[in-house]
């Protein structure tokens, strides 16, 4: 899956495990929040970078103390009109000071990446490689803004 990270087109180097997938020996991977909460101690023995995937309805506070041990938080947007993910990103960056990768996946529009970037998302996964130029352009759609930014 193509990925724009820190305004650059790149490839995803993580594996995204289901709740029943065996853990890989090496390399980075992400798990669902539930799996993280269930298998936290075991997962922490893994040497490579770890990620957790959040749905819009999840509370960041339930695993906030683990954030220093994580390299990636994936925000899974099921519906582009559901704005809770924007607040999740804001909490991760501003409230909890997370400085790893925050990645948006799922149903979002290129027209939303500027706002997502400003709330703290710095990586955008998408299906269609042809969309990369549009996403890159829209990350800088505005040169000015009013509010303070989490980016």
């Amino acid at each position: 899956m193509p990925l724009v990270k820190d305004q650059t087109l790149t490839e995803d180097c993580y594996r995204h495990l289901t709740d029943s997938d065996a853990l890989p020996e090496t390399g980075g991977f992400s798990v669902s929040l539930q799996r993280w909460l269930d298998e936290r101690e075991h997962l922490l023995t893994h040497a490579g970078p770890l990620g957790v995937r959040l749905k819009a309805e999840h509370e960041v506070s339930v695993f906030a103390e683990d954030l220093p041990k994580l390299a990636l938080i994936v925000l899974e947007l099921d519906k582009f009109t559901d704005g809770r993910s924007f607040t999740q990103a804001w909490y991760l960056r501003r409230r909890y000071g997370f400085n790893g990768e925050i990645r948006a996946v799922g149903d979002y529009l290129p027209d939303q990446v500027f706002y997502l970037k400003r709330t703290g998302v710095n990586a955008f996964a998408f299906d269609n490689a042809a969309q990369a130029p549009l996403i890159l352009a829209k990350l800088n759609e505005f040169s000015v803004h009013y509010q303070t930014s989490a980016a």
Binding site: F80, G83, R84, W90, R94, D111, V144
Partner: protein
């Protein structure tokens, strides 16, 4: 008034470019209708019965003469020579072409206007009292705070996809003329015991299908904390507002379901954790206040002797003066209502020709500024009393001097079935018929303060549930019927009107309203206004007359 700096202008210009690009992608199929919908709504663009409708922002109802001329130009060039002022101090164009909307937005940007966030599930245009800055009962001018809120809401990255729309109103006076108790957040400028001015904060009010009066969440908020507290409320709403049912998605339902105490606890906790970066410095407040400094009033205005003479010699002028002008903070000045309730025009509508003339009058008589209010009228707020006669004559010439402010024919009305795709029934036609039946101005003056609000559907754009007499259009098997409520109010003693009884048919509605007015005239006590009579006597006397079986 506020003037754009480079940042404001750049942002608006870039927004126009963005919407032009989005419209092009929609027209060539790259964006689906479902994807384009929230994007266009956040630029004020609806797809309506006959054509798109474009809603342009009137920031807290304040316009310059230059902006009026631009609205006239847009009405002439892109629409059918008129536009419509709404209850939220905005302007609607009913007939633009989708392909031309980016051009209209570019025209608006030339005069520091835009259509951002006039619709959609985001923070909307902040509204206030049209008398802001000149009201005699003012605690402090609310406009600088409205502008501070405007800047904070515009393109707020976190709150563009809320569960539902979100509206903020600010009142700076004892008398609430901004319907603040019926907004998602209402702010009242108040003075505390130690003489500091801050805000009483209300939350969870709203109209529409489930009208609810807002509750006080904080009795006193220091003004430096304004944005910090607003941000905490909206963040809690964004996280916990319902997203499973659009009719239960407003903040009023969240506050009702979890209770004010639990809601407040979440908000105050959020506020404490996030407030610091959002604190307003006194310098920042002072900087914005400078834009709203009083105009160059003439001290000699108070010496005028001509007004008294004109009032004595011209009864029509005296009548207009009595009903359409309001006391001003400054001696020798009056605030003047420009009535958009001429009996032959739909409420709130104004033509390009009227706008152009009004722009000239605004320059000539009121320092080049004009306001809109939530009852769909306009106001020239700073008129020398010696100019009133000439202004009246000029307004009369363009049919904007109907002396009916605050009377039964000063009706709030939505576009209804004639334009709106949501409507179940017509509203403009009902108003026209009512106006014909109420054509005797002396009868109107005898009736006194009666606010009739009529909406063509339960979304309630015309605030029918807080009309002294509320009329709600409903659909019954393809026919237009009207549900009547009595006793609503959006003022200090805010109240939701009570249902009178079964809906009445289109051909009965005017007679029914006339019957209600008759009952009032028969049962009122001396000097008792309509609302007081309804509150004292209840609905029974009205029901007996309306639903009496013969």
């Amino acid at each position: 008034m506020y003037r754009y700096n480079t940042l404001d202008q750049t942002l608006v210009n870039e927004r126009v470019a963005q919407f032009r690009e989005q419209t092009a992608r929609f027209l060539n199929g790259e964006l689906s209708e479902d994807q384009f919908r929230p994007l266009r709504l956040m630029n004020g663009l609806y797809i309506q019965t006959h054509a798109p409708m474009l809603r342009v922002a009137g920031p807290y109802g304040l316009f310059s003469s230059r902006q009026l001329r631009k609205l006239a130009h847009i009405a002439r060039t892109y629409d059918k020579n008129y536009c419509h002022f709404t209850t939220r101090q905005n302007i609607q164009f009913n007939w633009p072409k989708l392909e031309q909307v980016p051009d209209i937005l570019a025209e608006l940007a030339e005069v520091e206007m835009h259509a951002m966030q006039t619709s959609g599930n985001c923070m909307r245009n902040t509204t206030t009292d049209a008398l802001a800055g000149v009201a005699v009962d003012e605690i402090e001018d609310p406009r600088p705070y409205c502008e501070i809120i405007r800047q904070w809401t515009i393109l707020h990255p976190e709150f563009a996809y809320l569960p539902r729309k979100f509206k903020i109103a600010v009142s700076g006076t004892e008398q609430d003329r901004a319907a603040t108790q019926l907004h998602d957040i209402g702010l009242h400028l108040v003075k505390n015991e130690s003489g500091e001015i801050g805000f009483r904060v209300l939350v969870g009010g709203g109209l529409g299908r489930t009208p609810i009066i807002g509750q006080v969440i904080r009795e006193f908020l220091p003004k430096q904390e304004l944005l910090a507290y607003l941000e905490a409320i909206v963040r809690i709403y964004n996280l916990y507002g319902r997203r499973d049912n659009k009719y239960k998605a407003r903040i009023k339902i969240l506050v009702k379901e979890i209770g004010l105490a639990a809601f407040k606890e979440k908000v105050e906790q959020e506020w404490q954790l996030s407030r610091e970066p959002l604190l307003l410095s006194d310098e920042r407040i002072a900087e914005i206040k400078r834009y709203f400094a009083p105009p160059a009033y003439e001290a000699s205005a108070a010496d005028d002797q001509t007004l008294v003479a004109k009032l004595a010699e011209n009864q029509a002028f005296a009548t207009w003066y009595q009903h359409n002008t309001v006391a001003h903070q400054k001696a020798g000045y009056r605030a003047v209502f420009v009535s958009l309730k001429h009996p032959t025009a739909p409420p709130g509508d104004i033509t390009d020709r009227q706008l152009d003339v009004l722009a000239d009058l605004t320059d000539q008589y009121s320092f080049g500024e004009i306001r809109s209010n939530h009852r769909q009228n306009l106001m020239l707020a700073d008129v020398r009393q010696s100019d009133l006669f000439a202004l009246w004559q000029a307004l009369r010439h363009i049919e904007l001097a109907t002396p009916n402010i605050g009377t039964v024919s000063d009706i709030i009305c939505c576009p209804g079935l004639d334009f709106c795709s949501l409507a179940n029934a017509g509203s403009i036609g009902v108003v026209r018929e009512l106006n014909e039946a109420l054509d005797d101005l002396d009868y109107q003056y005898d009736l006194g303060d009666i606010k009739i609000n009529i909406s063509g559907c339960m979304n309630g754009c015309a605030h029918q549930s807080v009309g002294h007499i509320g009329i709600l259009g409903v659909d019954k098997k393809g026919e237009e019927w009207y549900q009547i409520t009595l006793g609503g109010s959006s003022e200090n003693q805010a109240a939701i009107g009570q249902r009178l009884g079964p809906a009445v048919s289109r051909d009965q509605i005017t007679d029914t309203i006339l019957d209600i007015l008759d009952v009032y005239l028969n049962i009122r006590e001396p000097d008792e206004p309509f609302l007081a009579t309804v509150n004292r006597a209840g609905l029974e006397p009205f029901k007996e007359k309306i639903y009496a079986t013969c």
